[in-house]
């Protein structure tokens, strides 16, 4: 009987571990808790590492423009398009009147956001974006 109790206590000690156990994803419960607590998502209270925002203007003769941001890890970063605006245009074809409005953006590399459009229409276009990097 005593031997069985001792075996059960020994099993529990191994499973729960000690507060001094080093962090491990496969160790005791204490080690696993230390492992989870050490994760940046938990330590910082958020999965988001950084948010950057900006606005780029493509001037009247441009179809592409690149803005610089703080370095991000592109594999862990999303780029949000917040909208674009442009003035009307007084050309004669429908394509000329609207083509310069349609702007797209891309995270070109770790420090660059680029705005592009197919047609400048001799009018500037303004585009806003948000860069969200995760841990």
């Amino acid at each position: 009987m005593f031997g069985m109790m001792e075996a059960m206590l020994s099993f529990l000690r191994r499973q729960v571990g000690l507060r001094t156990d080093s962090a491990s994803a496969t160790g005791s419960a204490h080690a696993k808790l230390a492992y989870i607590a050490g994760k940046e998502i938990v330590a910082n209270g958020s999965a988001i590492k950084s948010i950057q925002r900006g606005t780029i203007v493509l001037s009247d003769n441009q179809t592409s423009k690149a803005a610089t941001i703080s370095p991000v890890i592109t594999e862990k970063t999303m780029l949000s398009f917040l909208g674009a605006s442009s003035r009307g245009q007084t050309e004669t074809t429908k394509y000329d009147k609207t083509g310069h409005h349609f702007v797209r953006i891309s995270l070109t590399n770790s420090t660059t956001v680029t705005a592009n459009r197919e047609y400048n229409g001799e009018e500037p276009a303004t585009v806003s974006y948000e860069v969200i990097e995760f841990y």
């Binding site: 948010i51 780029i56 203007v57 001037s59 610089t68 703080s70 004669t92």
Partner: protein
Amino acid sequence: MPYYAQIDAEGICFAVTQTAGEINRADMIEIDSLDESILLKKYVNGAWETVPEEPQTEPEPPK
């Protein structure tokens, strides 16, 4: 988080950005806020000057 205005070779502001950290580049001017009113203005001796727009030509009326 710092704010920057980015200027082209002529000193014209083409982007304003709220970055995650400090950026040290000659074409990035630190500003106080994400102020979009300085877009397309020229940076001259520490101040933003409005660049006069070229007059647009009116389309010819249909004949």
